[in-house]
């Protein structure tokens, strides 16, 4: 697969990540420029935070355990899961099959799946 140059990818990310939590776009930039191993996880967290519906009882995102169930505990619905993976596709080019998507149940699963997908590219 031909990967566009970092500046074109960043330009694309700027458009797609408008209105996302602070730090999300910077994480994308760090990822494109290969700055720091945590960039992709921070990007995923920013995207996820954007998609989570407001729930007063939910702890701050940084305190959420990796075992938290994305649907049951965090309130993500199935369409938001599809939307999240669509966003990861258009911003960082990571594509998930239906089977792979079904295997993503917890926050930890999501991070693992994204890292594995990157490593396999």
């Amino acid at each position: 697969m031909n990967t566009p140059a970092p500046d074109l990818r960043l330009q694309n990310a700027r458009e797609w990540l408008r209105g996302y939590p602070p730090g999300t776009l910077e994480a994308a930039e760090d990822f494109f420029l290969d700055r720091g191993a945590t960039a992709l996880d921070r990007l995923v967290d920013g995207v996820l935070m954007h998609f989570l519906p407001p729930r007063p009882e939910r702890p701050p995102f940084a305190q959420i355990d990796p075992t938290a169930h994305l649907v049951r505990d965090l309130g993500l619905d199935s369409i938001a899961m599809v939307e999240l993976t669509y966003l990861l596709d258009v911003v960082v080019g990571l594509k998930f099959s239906d089977d792979e998507l079904r295997g993503i149940v917890t926050l930890g699963d999501l991070h693992r799946a994204v890292q594995q997908k990157r490593a396999s590219r």
Partner: protein, 417 residues
């Protein structure tokens, strides 16, 4: 005796105002809501009915703004196109006026009927991803944001409505049928209340296709562009926005102390069976719809105090309707006006807009004048077309709508006695 059906709430996001008070003032003072548009250099559309206080043209929802009074959660916004945002705001107004709670909306006795052409602008945007990605990628919201049922999908989910939910796609008659069938749901005892919504987007993607049919006015001056029944009229002016109406059984509305704004007394419908896009020249279809509406409401033609005509300012359509009006009501018929001179023609939402305007006119006791009327076409001189608003108590009014394929709808509203 079937339940009487009453109007208990109205909501407006329209070119002539974004709430009932603003709309009533524009309507009685004959202030139009048409503005110059410059979508492209030398664009063939020079004027349209546009919506103020909303900015929804950005292809990314992050760039959208709407009045702060409306709290629109992201879980709802994500499935909406711009006219869905207008519709949400109009429904919020109507529910507030009607005094309905979310528990009542989810009681299984409340339904929702909508009319919309979908969102051509966002349909084009989302569909463009398909060839670009060879079919591998499309925004998951691409379908529900854009197709004609988008209003009913989104609003029913947001409000937790569990009664009948459906969309109507009969073009410019669509929200008239939505109203009529919603009335029947209550009159047949199937539902206690129905919410009816019409919404459209006044964008070049929605309106320029009508240039291909030569249906739009080429005028740049709003006053010359939308002039129903005028001898020099040359086409309609497109517009959009959203209107919501709450219909309820009178018994249910009285029991909860809801405002009784008007009775929705009856309706009729027909088809021309003539042309896919052009009115049957003698208005035989709209005549049938009007006669059915009178019969359905138990009203004599002589009881009608005002007719809100469909007349969009096209040469053929206005003439067909005028001929039908003269046959149904005779030369001494009621005052007639087309409020599209002020609002433009908002396509599928026009019937619900005009039913809501008639309700306002009944409530505030006036007949909206026929704005922008210069020289009346000679054949119409027997129509009573008041050039100014007339202060008058209204008991019974009739409102017409017609759409592609010759679908015709006539609605009869009465003052609450």
């Amino acid at each position: 005796m079937p339940p009487r059906v009453v109007v208990t709430g109205l909501g407006f996001i329209t070119p002539i105002g974004n709430d009932r008070a603003a709309v009533a003032a524009s309507l009685s003072e004959l202030r139009h809501g048409l503005s110059p548009v410059a979508w492209f250099p030398d664009c063939s559309i020079k004027v349209a009915g546009t919506i103020r206080d909303f900015s929804l043209t950005d292809l990314n929802q992050a760039g959208w703004t709407w009045p702060a009074a409306y709290s629109l959660p992201r879980e709802t916004l994500r499935g909406l196109s711009p006219h869905g945002v207008y519709a949400f705001c109009a429904v919020e107004q109507a529910l507030r006026e009607s005094g309905l709670t979310s528990a009542q909306l989810g009681d299984g006795n409340t339904g929702l009927f909508c009319a919309s052409a979908g969102s051509p602008r966002y349909l084009c945007h989302h569909m463009a991803e398909l060839p670009a990605s060879r079919g591998a990628r499309i925004n998951p919201w691409g379908v529900v944001r854009t197709i004609a049922g988008t209003l009913n999908f989104n609003l029913s989910a947001h409000y937790g409505i569990r009664g009948a939910v459906a969309g109507f796609s009969s073009a410019c008659a669509a929200s008239g049928q939505a109203l009529g069938y919603a009335r029947d749901e209550i009159a047949l005892g199937r539902h206690r209340r129905m919410i009816v919504v019409g919404a459209e987007e006044p964008t070049w993607e929605s309106l320029l296709p009508f240039v291909g049919l030569r249906a739009l006015s080429r005028q740049a001056d709003p006053i010359l562009a939308s002039r129903p029944f005028d001898a020099q009229r040359d086409g309609f002016v497109g517009s959009g926005g959203a209107v919501a109406v709450v219909l309820e059984s009178e018994e249910c509305a009285r029991a909860r102390g809801a405002p009784l704004l008007a009775e929705f007394a009856g309706w009729g419908q027909s088809a021309d069976g003539y042309s896919v896009a052009q009115s049957e020249p003698n208005g035989l279809g709209i005549e049938t719809a009007m006669r059915q509406a009178l019969r359905s409401s138990g009203a004599e033609a002589a009881e009608i105090d005002y007719v809100n005509a469909h007349a969009t300012s096209t040469p053929v359509g206005d003439r067909a309707e005028a001929r039908a009006l003269l046959r149904v009501f005779g030369p001494d018929g009621p005052p007639v006006s087309s409020t599209k001179a002020l609002t433009g023609h908002p396509l599928s939402m026009s019937a619900v807009l005009e039913a809501a305007l008639c309700t306002v006119a009944i409530q505030e006791s006036f007949i909206p004048g026929q704005a922008h009327l210069g020289e009346v076409e000679p054949e119409f001189t027997q129509l009573r077309l008041p050039r100014q608003t007339v202060a008058q108590e209204l008991h019974t009014v009739l409102s017409n709508s017609s759409g592609f394929g010759g679908s015709n709808v006539a609605l009869v509203l009465r003052a609450i006695r």
